[in-house]
């Protein structure tokens, strides 16, 4: 590891100013990616500019929708009850990233700016229609997260720009979400595949009552779906995002379209899973072969959708049964 100059600015403006005056410089937040890349000699910057002292990047704002500062750590998100209740998929992702030690320092901004196809928080942010708020010498701009990634390790960020926060709209009623990270190990692992889904359903009054009855059951969600089949439970809106199936985290837009406006059933979810799989171009890698990843998209899209529904019909269930299907 080469030696480098280290800077610790106290404001976004100062950080941008330092960056624009330097060559071969890199921002560092939690450092859980940057330090590894330094040691592996994948990068060798002469200057490291730490964002740690910039407190305005550490906010979580839940007043209208959700705003998460780029320096918010995974552990901060884990502990946030509001996010857990309404933006559950995000907590699903942050709680499974690395280990507690890593989550204590790794930031959500870092996870996204590193732009790995496997970034855990990318899929949840995609399904919540997150916008990246970026500040640079030319001022502030907003970019749809969908357009933020350009490829592995590449984003739309210019050299002198800083990712300030993610901004997500308020969710409609009767919305549930989930992220499933498919790994070999329970922790300290990168996903073979990551799938996030969000679904909004329409419930008439009668259905709402029957759904409430289901709160008391410990039935698996597949059974509940079976029971609800005759209710005409309709999907109003859906989002599906997938990680590690393309050079960047992607939305399965055809699958989303196939879901919108339809009456919900397991068969539909299976169909949607097939469509999502057809939208992916996974590669063979050491973590999983392409055929296996394609197969798993079908399974995980179905399961994530079921888990999302479960969170709507049984919102107060603290611990979701391990096997919902």
């Amino acid at each position: 590891m080469r030696s480098f100059e280290y800077y610790k600015p106290n404001s976004i403006e100062e950080a941008i100013k330092i960056m624009s005056g330097l060559d071969n410089a890199k921002f560092i937040a939690g450092g859980t990616d940057v330090m590894v890349q330094l040691r592996q000699k994948k990068i060798s910057p002469q200057h490291l500019i730490s964002l740690r002292n910039i407190s305005e990047l550490r906010n979580i704002d839940t007043k209208d929708g959700l705003k998460i500062g780029s320096l918010v750590t995974h552990d901060d998100i884990d502990k946030n009850e509001y996010i857990k209740k309404y933006y559950s998929a995000l907590t699903d992702a942050t709680s499974r990233l690395g280990s507690k030690q890593i989550r204590n320092v790794a930031t959500i901004g870092g996870n996204i700016c590193n732009a790995a196809p496997s970034a855990d928080t990318a899929c949840p942010l995609l399904i919540f229609d997150a916008k990246a708020v970026i500040i640079g010498t030319k001022g502030e701009r907003e970019v749809d997260l969908n357009e933020f990634f350009l490829g592995p390790g590449k984003t739309v960020l210019e050299k002198d720009e800083i990712l300030k926060e993610f901004s997500m709209p308020r969710l409609k009623e009767n919305t549930g979400s989930a992220y499933i990270k498919h790994t070999r190990r329970e922790a300290m692992d990168l996903p073979i595949l990551g799938v996030a889904t969000r679904i909004t359903i329409s419930l008439d009054k009668d259905s709402q009552i029957r759904c409430r009855d289901l709160l008391c059951t410990i039935d698996s969600i597949s059974n509940i779906l079976m029971q609800l089949k005759d209710e005409g439970l309709k999907c109003e809106e859906a989002r599906i995002a997938m990680g590690v199936v393309a050079p960047k985290p992607i939305r399965a837009k055809k699958a989303e379209e196939a879901l919108a406006g339809k009456i919900i059933s397991i068969e539909l979810f299976e169909e949607v899973g097939e469509i999502a799989a057809s939208e992916a171009q996974p590669r063979d890698s050491i973590r999983g072969e392409a055929w296996y990843r394609k197969e798993m998209i079908k399974v995980l899209v179905k399961r994530a959708l079921m888990k999302s529904i479960d969170r709507i019909v049984r919102p107060d269930e603290e611990i979701y049964p391990e096997r919902l299907w």
Binding site: H182, R184, R185, E186, A187, M188, D189, L190, I192, I286, R287, G288, E289, Y292, E295, M296, V299, W325
Partner: protein, 759 residues
């Protein structure tokens, strides 16, 4: 004797624990000596290539570089564990045989300068055709990796007992299966490191090792130095698992650099180097044919096993044999034909592993279950029927001294409700059982035995001097605990000097599970010698007969009239006054057949005694993703009398992780000669959160010759945990695994195949 034991058999805190959990324990990489240099090794980028020239001259010009060496600076000696396997130069001058092989090295005042210098070493290679698959390597057309081994067959072990063909013909059912298992990584927590310091004609070395005496001897050969000038010193070891038994190329590299520069040299391998360039675990392909009577009795076994040995012999003959032996030491095999081939390929060197051969066992055990099912028998009963008992001989005529196999099977089966669960398992759930026997020390010539010295110091404290070595399993604490029992002196009062070739005498080291049975027996003998001397003085001073005196809590006292007592420190001083300070010596040599030879005479007493064990695993298969979960694991181990039950349980629990969960997690992945997962992100060592709920059962068979009845503590689980999971998979799916590990994609493929078969 049981009732009178004061500390043996008690759950004591290991003597090494405090330093280790507080970070106070020092390891090789922590060492700093005055003027010490840092070494880096230049490694082969080719799997197979002729070396035309190595030029280190430019590296020497880098500021701060004090020495640069290649194989041309060594003494032309090749290492081999056996006379007939001397093929490893450590720093080759003819050709490189695997990617990552040590080619040259530099020592500099800091690591950065050393790395810079490496890039200036010029090596001219002529790439040669390489071979990576052992079956391919055995063909006549394959490139020869070593001239002296035709068809790249390093070792062929042939064992023939009884009349296999006749027995097979008469068997009620015969089944043949072929299966594969990937090689694994040792993944010790501490990457390999060595410090060598050459001064005044003496070479001192520190490194994690499993046998300092064997290591010093090998280095004295390689460096052409007299043995008394090579001193391997004690240092904590961060894990070995069989992978640090032999001399390592790094030892030679650091020694040569220190001799050249006249300064101490430290070499610390990276995690990736540790995985690629130290030792790896053999991949295997095995064909197992079994003949059984209608009642489940095994009548014949026929084997063909191919071991991918990588580039050099290493412990070849042993590695080619052990998987079979641990099976025959467990079950009665009246007729056997075993053909084991260790084959060279252009991959990293494969060595002994704490659980070497467990995939071989897993195949045997899972096949046994399938045959039991076919015969309508219960696997527990089949194991009990075929399991060896004390007094019996193994197929190759090794006597079973003490045997708790039956108890481990029965207790593990009862605790897990095995019979019921096996018969009526729900869809995609399964339960499996694995059994095994482990030799406690095997023939190593005159190094098979251990010696110990003990001295009683002036305040009644004790210094214990033994060659025993601790790789993390608790051998040091074991020695101290045994001494404490014999001398009646608390563990805290006993200082241990061990694993240092200068001050200790020969010891087999901590491989072949010799430490508890052989090493601790020598400690016991030495302490008994000192105890006699203490008692003799006490008897005179107290005026009571010697037989009446016992030692306890630093005091010698009369058992009949406990008022008659005196501190051991007084007795010690009395001895000093007489000019006869109290020292004790003792040794132990196991009762083994020294004529036995792995290749030429595979017959006779293999070990002083054997330990036995049974593992039971329950698994759940997610049929959509292929992921296997292991909710419950029960391990029963016959360790003779446990010296420290807590340490034995710790070994058993660790074994469930390293061997049990490994069945679904661990495997080295290759692209031609490249190891694709040398780091701990992609090589999946199970974590605490991946562990099942574990129950451990210690079965005490009380070995007649073990120290206080003890045998090795925990290795059986490290072998049979693998079988338990493989058998549970067979129970859940009705099929034999085809390839281990049972990764999700592998499982999904198998399940698909199973469905296809039913259609």
């Amino acid at each position: 004797m049981d009732e009178n034991l004061k500390i043996v058999g008690k759950r004591v805190i290991r003597s090494d624990s405090y330093a280790k959990v507080t970070g106070g324990a020092l390891y090789t990489a922590d060492l700093k000596l005055p003027g010490m240099l840092y070494a880096k090794v230049l490694r082969s980028p080719y799997p197979h290539a002729k070396i035309l020239n190595i030029d280190v001259s430019k590296a020497l010009k880098v500021p701060g570089v004090k020495a640069a060496i290649s194989g041309f600076d060594a003494y032309g000696v090749k290492w081999g564990v056996f006379r007939y396997t001397q093929d490893h130069a450590m720093l080759p001058t003819d050709k490189v045989r695997y990617i990552g092989e040590d080619v040259a090295a530099v020592a500099a005042v800091d690591e950065e300068s050393a790395i810079e210098a490496l890039s200036l070493i010029k090596v001219e290679y002529e790439p040669l055709e390489a071979v990576f698959d052992p079956v391919e390597a055995m063909k006549d057309t394959a490139p020869q990796i070593h001239e002296q081994y035709k068809n790249n067959i390093n070792i062929h072990i042939h064992i023939e007992v009884g009349d296999v063909d006749k027995a097979m013909a008469k068997a009620y059912i015969v089944r043949e299966d072929t299966f594969k298992a990937k090689g694994e990584a040792y993944a010790m927590m501490e990457p390999y490191a060595v410090v060598a310091s050459y001064a005044n004609g003496y070479l001192d070395l520190w490194m994690p090792n499993a046998g300092p005496h064997v290591r010093a001897k090998a280095l004295s050969n390689l460096l052409k130095l007299p043995l008394n000038r090579v001193r391997v010193r004690h240092i904590n070891s961060g894990g070995a698992f069989g992978g640090r038994s032999e001399v390592a190329p790094g030892d030679l590299v650091a020694s040569l650099l220190s001799i050249k520069s006249g300064r101490p040299v430290k070499l610390v391998l990276t995690r990736e180097e540790n995985a690629m360039c130290s030792r790896q675990v053999h991949d295997i392909i095995a064909t197992v044919k079994t003949g059984m009577k209608k009642d489940g009795t095994i009548v014949a076994k026929e084997y063909k096993t191919i071991y991918d040995g990588g580039a050099y012999s290493s412990t070849g003959p042993i590695a080619t044999s052990i998987p079979y032996y641990v099976y025959e030491e467990c079950y009665r095999l009246p007729n056997v034909r075993y053909d084991g081939y260790r084959v060279f390929t252009n991959k990293g060197i494969r060595g002994m592993y704490g659980c070497h051969g467990r995939a071989f066992l897993a195949g045997n055990e899972a096949q046994m279950d399938l045959m039991a099912k076919e015969l309508g028998l219960d696997p527990v009963e089949v194991r009990l029927k075929n399991g060896l008992t004390a007094g019996e001989l193994t197929a190759t005529k090794s006597k079973i001294i003490s045997c708790g196999l039956k108890d481990t099977i029965i207790q593990a089966a009862e605790k897990s409700d095995f019979k019921k669960k096996w018969k009526k398992h729900t869809r995609n759930k399964g339960i499996g059982m694995g059994c095994v026997a482990i030799m406690c020390g095997f023939p190593m010539g005159f190094r098979s035995g251990s010696s110990c010295y003990v001295k009683i110091n002036d305040d009644g404290q004790v210094t214990l001097i033994t060659g025993m070595v601790d790789n993390g399993q608790g051998n040091e604490s074991l020695a101290v605990q045994v001494a404490s029992e014999v001398l009646g002196i608390p563990m805290d009062d006993i200082n241990l000097v061990n694993a240092d070739t200068e001050v200790t005498n020969l010891d087999p080291g901590s491989y072949s599970q010799a430490a508890a049975y052989v090493g601790a027996n020598a400690v016991k003998a030495a302490c008994e010698d000192a105890r006699k001397k203490i008692i003799a003085i006490a008897s005179k001073k107290l005026g009571v007969p010697e037989e009446e005196i016992d030692l306890k809590d630093r005091v010698a006292y009369s058992v009949k009239t406990p008022d008659k007592r005196m501190p051991i420190s007084w007795i010690t001083r009395e001895a000093f006054f007489k000019g006869e300070p109290i020292v004790g010596t003792g040794s132990f040599f196991p009762d083994i057949d020294l004529e036995r030879e792995w290749v030429s005479k595979p017959e006779g007493q293999m070990a002083g005694t054997y330990s036995f064990g049974t593992s039971v695993a329950e698994i759940e298969i997610d049929e959509e993703t292929g992921k296997i979960k292991v909710p419950k694991f029960i391990a029963a181990h016959d360790c003779g009398r446990p010296i420290n039950p807590m340490a034995v349980e710790g070994q058993m629990e660790g074994s469930v992780g390293q061997a049990g969960i490994a069945t679904i997690f661990e495997g080295n992945m290759w692209y031609k000669g490249f190891l694709l997962n040398p780091d701990l992100l992609e090589y999946k060592v199970p974590l605490a959160c991946d562990m099942p709920d574990i129950e451990t059962i210690i079965v005490s068979s009380n070995d007649p010759k073990g120290p206080f009845g003890a045998k090795e503590g925990g290795l059986t689980i490290r072998m049979n945990a693998y079988s338990a999971i493989a058998c549970a998979f067979t129970n859940a799916t009705g099929m034999l695994f085809e390839e281990l590990p049972l990764t999700p994609d592998n499982v999904l493929k198998l399940l698909e195949k199973n469905k296809g078969g039913k259609r």
